[in-house]
């Protein structure tokens, strides 16, 4: 049954998120309504722990040590490809290999669509998170966050040597949006990039990618 103050408004009042006029109305109501005061007290007193949020099943990218004729080799497969079985894995691993984009790496931040396109990494190792790492070693988990103008969409490209791969699905833009996480190994220098208007199978043109470079330890 409805009541002058719903649970949602009480929750927002508790969080300090009601617009001023509405907040004042709720405050006045609370002065005379014991039922709502009790509910608000219960909200404030609810200290039951928030269960851990398991990390989503994120794609994994593994990099073999350099040494072959091609230098680094991107080995798929991302875990979200794994459901399809071996044939799909092979296809996926092949599909992410793109090629030959010599030249300097783009900078870590570029102007794009009236805003900024930027990428930022966090490294998780033995349960410890290190923001903006410069290096990685086998077994590290690298979280990729991108920033770009809302309403746009960007890709996440990984460059090793002259090869680009696209291990994560495209991301809807926002401020420091988590694009996913990668597992790197092999010690090869790797650039992880937010890429504007990505075209599968082609390296991004200059000015269309913001990259951070990780060196192997």
């Amino acid at each position: 049954m409805s009541h002058p103050v719903s649970h949602l408004r009480l929750e927002r009042y508790h969080l300090g998120e009601l617009p001023p006029a509405d907040r004042d109305g709720v405050a006045r109501h609370l002065e005379t309504c014991a039922e709502c005061r009790t509910l608000l007290d219960e909200i404030a007193a609810d200290d039951r722990p928030l269960p851990d949020l398991p990390l989503p099943d994120l794609p994994t990218l593994e990099v073999e040590p350099a040494g072959g004729a091609r230098g680094g080799v991107v080995r798929g497969p991302a875990r979200w490809w794994a459901v399809g079985g071996g044939a799909l894995l092979a296809l996926a691993a092949g599909a992410v290999l793109v090629l030959r984009a010599p030249g300097p790496l783009p900078p870590g931040e570029v102007a794009w669509k009236g805003g900024v396109l930027a990428v930022e990494l966090a490294r998780e190792r033995d349960g410890q998170v290190h923001e903006r790492p410069a290096t990685y070693r086998d077994g590290d988990r690298i979280q990729v966050r991108v920033s770009c103008p809302p309403g746009e969409q960007v890709g996440v490209g990984v460059r090793q040597g002259d090869e680009w791969s696209w291990p994560l699905p495209p991301v809807a833009c926002g401020n420091r949006v988590v694009a996913g996480a990668l597992a790197l190994s092999g010690g090869q220098q790797t650039a992880i990039c937010a890429v504007a208007d990505p075209v599968a199978g082609t390296a991004p043109p200059p000015g269309q990618a913001a990259c951070v470079v990780l060196r192997g330890e």
């Binding site: 049954m1 719903s6 949602l8 929750e11 998120e17 398991p54 809807a172 949006v177």
Partner: protein, 153 residues
């Protein structure tokens, strides 16, 4: 995830009210935030999340495999009645029973009105409906409730 820490507790309370189980509420809220993470959504507020959590909880209630368990969680404590239904008897359990059979949008409105204590205006604004439409849907809910309460042993 900042959003999870800010809004998680409110959503857990809300879903627990709907589902009658903290464990089920945790499942719904975790799934909701994992989905947001995957989509990279950070531009959401509590009303949006409330609505998303409501729909997900309704899916749990309407999931045939789980319905029997949910409905029996508090036993069948309804007292048979005749005629018009007193809104005070439209409690969580009755709403769960109604939601299993009402059309989706009507079920959602029933939850807002009878479990979340929202006014018709607040429901209309949250759902982007006219107040008149909300009123009509609530009338359907009352009729369905009267049928359920009046007919079931």
């Amino acid at each position: 995830m900042e959003l999870y820490h800010r809004y998680g507790p409110a959503l857990l309370r809300k879903c627990e009210r709907m589902l009658g189980s903290r464990a089920d509420a945790e499942d719904v809220v975790q799934a909701l935030f994992l989905d947001l993470l995957r989509k990279g959504r950070t531009d959401v507020d509590l009303p949006y999340l409330y609505q998303a959590a409501t729909r997900r909880s309704l899916n749990v209630i309407r999931d045939g495999r789980r319905r029997a368990e949910l409905l029996s969680r508090h036993g069948d404590a309804l007292v048979p009645r005749q005629g018009a239904v007193d809104e005070r008897v439209i409690d969580a359990e009755l709403v769960r029973r109604l939601c299993a059979s009402l059309p989706e949008q009507t079920a959602e409105i029933a939850v807002y009105a009878f479990l979340d204590r929202m006014s018709q205006e607040e429901i209309a604004s949250l759902c982007g409906l006219s107040r008149k439409t909300v009123g009509k849907r609530l009338e359907q809910v009352r009729q369905a409730a009267a049928g359920l309460v009046g007919g079931a042993p």
